[in-house]
Amino acid sequence: MGSSISYAAAPPPPPPPANLSQHPVGLGVLLPSKTEEKIEKKVDWRNLPCPLPFEEIQREALMSLKPELFEGLRFDFTKGLNQKFSLSHSVFMGSMEVPSQSSDTIKVPTSHYEFGANFLDPKLMLVGRVLTDGRLNARVKCDLTDNLTLKVNAQLTNEPHFSQGMFNFDYKGSDFRTQFQIGNNAFYGANYIQSVAPNLSLGSEVFWLGHQRKSGIGFAARYNTEKMVATGQVASTGVVALSYVQKVSEKVSLASDFMYNQTTRDVTASFGYDYILRQCRLRGKIDSNGVVSSFLEERLNMGVNFILSAEVDHRKKDYKFGFGMTVGE
């Protein structure tokens, strides 16, 4: 008591460390602890969180609104040999849509068997899938240092001039990310995204296509709180994309999406829901093009999932139903 009163009588400009420990004790006696909760958390502008990568800015909306719809039978079997290494066998029998000039949809019955191998390490990820017709899908992700990552994405075919590949170099800073891309057909791209507030991040990208001498620039913004995510993207190619996802509860999310393409005068809006329940995940969506779709993944047992997919296009009179099973993690 005596020591604290004498200290308060003569406040020293830089308090010596020995006396500093007495301050919180004295204040703790004077102030009630409840006011600490009322004091707002001050924004630390020097320690903003690292933003999501530029290509994942619409991640929540894409996960809820764009499941992998298919038509036909699908069977996937994943066998783990190791914590890090696994093989996968996948069979598909059904119709695949072939893009056509007219408004009619052309469906080609196809079937294929796909063999895949995955190696997942914290520092190195290798995923390869090869189909019966010789096509190879390869993905490599390698952490060269703590902040620099190399990603390679390639689709190689037996036909000449149809293969595609893309190299990405990602650098992650404390509150920004930047990426440089090199692709085949002389494609060069770069993007940069920065956290400007605890909830807001802004980014931009530029790209250049060598063979067609086309270049473009785009801007993106993402605002997210714990309950909602809103994103917007504008590009010089004439595309505007907006999305909004609201997390209504732990199990339910609602999402909406708007896309406007100025060159083709295409406008699409869609609304969807995403229920993540204990035994199943159900995603449904309705579109402004008159497309209603739904995707159900039901967990029958440990490691066994049953999948149902449905897409009904009222305008084009195209009805797609698919079923399948996934065994393994």
Partner: protein, 71 residues
């Protein structure tokens, strides 16, 4: 006379250097295309065996029979 000869020599010197530079650029382009074609074939045939090789040598080492059996 002497300056004219010098000029002539200079011109031919520049011309031959230009031809060298364009041929070097052509040589680099042809060589890089050849490398990319060979690299594409190597990646196409060797990527999945490479993953299997790395996976079979990681800890804990899986047995070879586990590769083929469905269990």
């Amino acid at each position: 006379m002497a300056p004219k000869i010098g000029k002539g020599k200079g011109k031919t010197g520049k011309g031959s250097k230009g031809a060298d530079e364009s041929s070097i650029a052509r040589y680099v382009k042809v060589w890089s295309t050849w490398t990319m074609k060979r690299a594409k074939v190597v990646a196409h045939y060797g990527f999945i065996p490479l993953i299997i090789l790395i996976g079979m040598n990681s800890d804990p080492k899986p047995h070879f029979s586990q590769l083929l059996s469905p269990v």
